[in-house]
Amino acid sequence: TDQKFFTMMQNTILRRAAAPLLRRTFSSAPEAAASGMTLNFSLPSETIYAGAKVSQVIVPGAAGEYGVTADHVPVVAQLQAGVLQIMHEGSNEAEKYFVAGGFSITHPNSVTDISCPEAVKIDDIDSAAVSSAFEAAKSAFAAAEAGSADQALAQIDMEVNKAMGSAVGLSL
């Protein structure tokens, strides 16, 4: 019984010693929220943001638009052509970029990586060019054989131009 008691004591000591280490693995929610979210936004030709602290990012996901703030559940989303909105800390106005597509990956540590083939400022979009490109793509789509590569290309053009149009206030 002495042996048993001694083993019990040993186990209690070991458990008590391990407890502080175990406690450190739990994150405390207030600490994580206070640290905010980090945005890495890059194109093949340039890095727009690297390690930027922002309060929110609204992402044009292919399955729907969604917002990311600190402590968002990790998500990998393919993007569709649409507007990416970045809300900087201490600002009410969103900084907007029109993106052609790409991917957005939100990690468990509140870092979001967004990678796009091309992104432009909304002000750089030419409404007239977009309307005529949309009409041309629409005709090409109708004229192409169903399921062909030409029809797929026309559909891509239509979708991107339609999204550009809605970004500048046209309804195509």
Binding site: P44, A81, A100, V120, I125, A137, A149, Q155, V160
Partner: protein, 70 residues
């Protein structure tokens, strides 16, 4: 490969081809001077090299990926 579900897969395109075309459509809808600047990123060229015994063969420029056997 599992059954393709997106229109571009069904038409035989890869994701890279799809997203590159979308980027082209975006660049074509821009105002100057943004358009000229963006068009610089438009240029794409491919080189193909065949590897044998751990060494790359000579590179040759390739116009279309199908020429390289892809």
């Amino acid at each position: 490969m599992s059954t393709p579900t997106t229109f571009w897969r069904l038409a035989g395109m890869s994701y890279t081809q799809y997203v590159t075309r979308a980027a082209t459509a975006l660049r074509n809808g821009l105002k100057e001077p943004a358009k000229t600047q963006a068009m610089r990123n438009e240029a794409l060229s491919y080189n193909s090299a065949t590897w044998a015994g751990g060494k790359a063969g000579s590179k040759k420029p390739v116009q279309v990926l199908s020429e390289a056997g892809l």
